[in-house]
Amino acid sequence: MWKKVYEWLDERLGLNDMYTNLLDRPEPTGNWWNTLGSASLFLFVMQGLTGIFLTVYYTPSPDHAYDSVQYIMEGVAFGWLIRGIHHWGATLMVIVVFIHMLRVFFTASFKYPRELTWLIGIGLLLMTLGMGFTGYLLPWNQRAFWATTVGTQIAGSVPFVGEFILKALRGGPDLSALTLQRFFSAHIWMLPAMLAGLIGVHLFLIIKHGESHFPTKED
């Protein structure tokens, strides 16, 4: 019976092809440092899942943001755990993605034929930092408010277009309800959508070229 179901699905989905092409691939002898990429992916998925749960109660307005986070921490069953994982996951993700970049740098895995994988990887690193920057404001507490104030100020110091960037980020000359809305939208829609898309390309390239081998004296 199960065999029949499997065969029916295989005919339509190509499960066997998927197995031989995706899973049963040869790889160079692995190294524990090579797990950092999948660890970054795991953290991205965790951040996505906990983030989705957080949006159930979170309200992105200056009047309610702080109280809704407070409610998640005190009122919602296991809300503290979800927020705790999201909070620490952000920190860990920045660390893991950064070390992943260092690993690729030190083993020179970015060289032919993996140049494009590196370019996309740098995009992913910068977007991870962007996720951290936009997510930091959302609890609307003192630390968040002032960190974003100085953070956007730095962006505003760009010559000529600085003022425009500052106003575009803040939605006006000062931090306001608009800033919170903007950061919320960037944090839950724009950046994750771009991240997910680029992660897809990154993974495709890794499967296409295979994981690079650890360099020896011959390389």
Binding site: F42, E74, G84, T91, A108, P113, L119, W146, V150
Partner: protein, 469 residues
């Protein structure tokens, strides 16, 4: 890169694949172990460290020292160090945009800058050295981010040391490494030693900075997270800021004993008229803006008062839950633990919360109180115009005991003039609170709970009562 090199690289990779492993299950298995480890670590961090509570954002509180997220701290520190450079340091965008921009640009274009196919570290010593010094610098800047470049006493010592480790050594090392690589064609060994030397000296200088800089005392702001905590915090704040005019239960209709507002008629703020008609946000605004026409000063920081947004929120929550009969108040722990027979109260456990609730509204700096301050153990015992008589351990003629028992102290020089009126002026303390003061002063004003416990006189139990079958 010509086709021959490409072919060579691909052939080399083929040979690695042949003696390699399978993606499933060999590689996946390692990935799963690491991901599981991270998952466990996340749960442990969330459970045992958690997210530290912070007060609500308050745009008017300019005294708050802004700090970015920890992973941007190094850029901040770099900015501060860079700002010390004469002339060039004034052009902010070089440090905020140009230098990070160039660094990110180089990193992005790395595959097109480092085009040689060599992959082993011995053949890539220059880029690896540059990256190591960069990472050491980033880590050290992050760790020293709390240290100011100009110390409180105006000394620039720390700032100079920080620029040595964060700017001068790395710059010199980069110049030396590039010269060694392209001009002198130095050996790999020399370049490795240069990198090690630069990194170690950066670590030593930064270590010195951290050792010289006294750890700043971080001012912990208390954040009430549970409803009970918020009500208690609100009640304490109410007691300090509002009791003078509104009374400790909000029932005052005619202000007494407040200079400038004597005899002013006000609406009792615990009445249904007020509580049923004013929303939380209106209540917030009245406290924050005050009622200048009715003599109520603003209390919000934004308008010259001393209360933050969170603090005013706690006060409105307190008023709602304690006075508004539509709200059901949660069980709130009593202000101080009830005293057993013969038990001696201590300052820490009993007197401090009582003084905070009933006394320091007036008995703190900047109020009219005969200079008697009650915000700490030392102040209660030693301050005031009548310090020698206010509290005399073991003497029931202590002024404090007399005035809280409705007995004003007369001026010895002018017998018909009050030296100290009854306290608190608006409403007498409850008998159990007076009892705490009496026991505390009569038993020698102990400060800590341990000192008080040593004075505990166990009353002789009555054998008849306990021996009943």
């Amino acid at each position: 890169m010509n086709d021959e090199t490409k072919k060579k690289i691909n052939a080399r990779y083929e040979s690695e694949l042949n003696k390699g492993e399978r993606f499933w299950p060999d590689s996946i298995y390692k990935d799963l172990i690491v991901s599981l480890g991270i998952f466990v670590l996340l749960i442990l961090l969330a459970t045992f460290i958690g997210v530290s509570p912070e007060p609500k954002a308050d745009p008017s509180d300019t005294s708050y020292i802004p700090r970015p997220e920890w992973y941007f701290l190094f850029i901040f520190k770099f900015l501060a160090i860079y700002g010390q450079i004469p002339i060039l340091g004034k052009i902010e965008w070089i440090a905020t945009v140009a230098i990070p921009g160039v660094a990110v640009g180089l990193l992005t274009l790395l595959p097109f800058i480092e085009k040689r196919p060599d992959r082993h570290y011995v053949k890539r010593i220059l880029p690896i050295s540059i990256m190591i010094i960069m990472v050491v610098g980033i880590v050290l800047l992050t760790f020293t981010s709390e240290v100011p470049t100009v110390a409180a006493d105006g000394s620039k010592m720390l700032g100079i040391l920080q620029s040595i480790s964060g700017l001068i050594i790395p710059t010199l090392a980069y110049i030396a490494l590039i010269l060694m690589s392209y001009v002198f064609k130095s050996s790999t060994r020399t370049m490795i030693w240069t990198t090690v030397l630069a990194s170690v000296s950066m670590i030593i200088v930064s270590g010195t900075v951290l050792a010289l800089h006294p750890k700043p005392v971080v001012e912990e702001t208390e954040v009430a997270t549970t409803l009970v905590d918020q009500i208690t915090a609100g009640q304490d704040l109410y007691s300090i800021h509002c009791t003078e005019c509104h009374g400790d239960d909000g029932s005052v209709a005619i202000i007494e004993g407040v200079e400038g507002l004597e005899g002013e008629e006000i609406t009792p703020i615990n009445s249904k008229d007020v509580l049923y008609t004013i929303t939380d946000s209106a209540m917030y605004e009245v406290i924050a803006y005050g009622r200048p026409n009715a003599g109520m000063t603003p209390f919000g920081k934004a308008y010259g008062g001393e209360l933050s947004k969170s603090e005013i929120d706690y006060m409105t929550i307190f008023m709602r839950y304690m006075w508004d009969d539509r709200f059901e108040a949660p069980v709130i722990a009593p202000l101080f633990p009830a005293l057993a027979d013969g038990e001696v109260p201590s300052y820490d456990v009993h007197i401090a919360p009582i003084a905070k609730r009933y006394c320091i509204s007036c008995h703190r700096a900047g109020k009219e109180n005969n200079n008697y301050l009650m915000t700490s153990y030392e102040e209660i015992l030693t301050t005031g115009d009548n310090a020698e008589n206010n509290i005399i351990a073991g003497d029931e003629k202590s002024y404090l005991l007399q005035v809280i028992q409705e007995h004003a102290i007369m001026n010895p020089d002018k017998p018909d003039e009050e030296l100290i009126g009854v306290m608190p002026p608006s409403k007498a303390l409850k008998p159990n609170v007076v009892d705490v003061f009496v026991r505390w002063i009569m038993n020698g004003v102990p400060q800590t709970a341990d000192e008080a416990a040593a004075l505990f006189a166990v009353p002789t139990p009555e054998p008849a009562a306990t021996a009943a079958p």
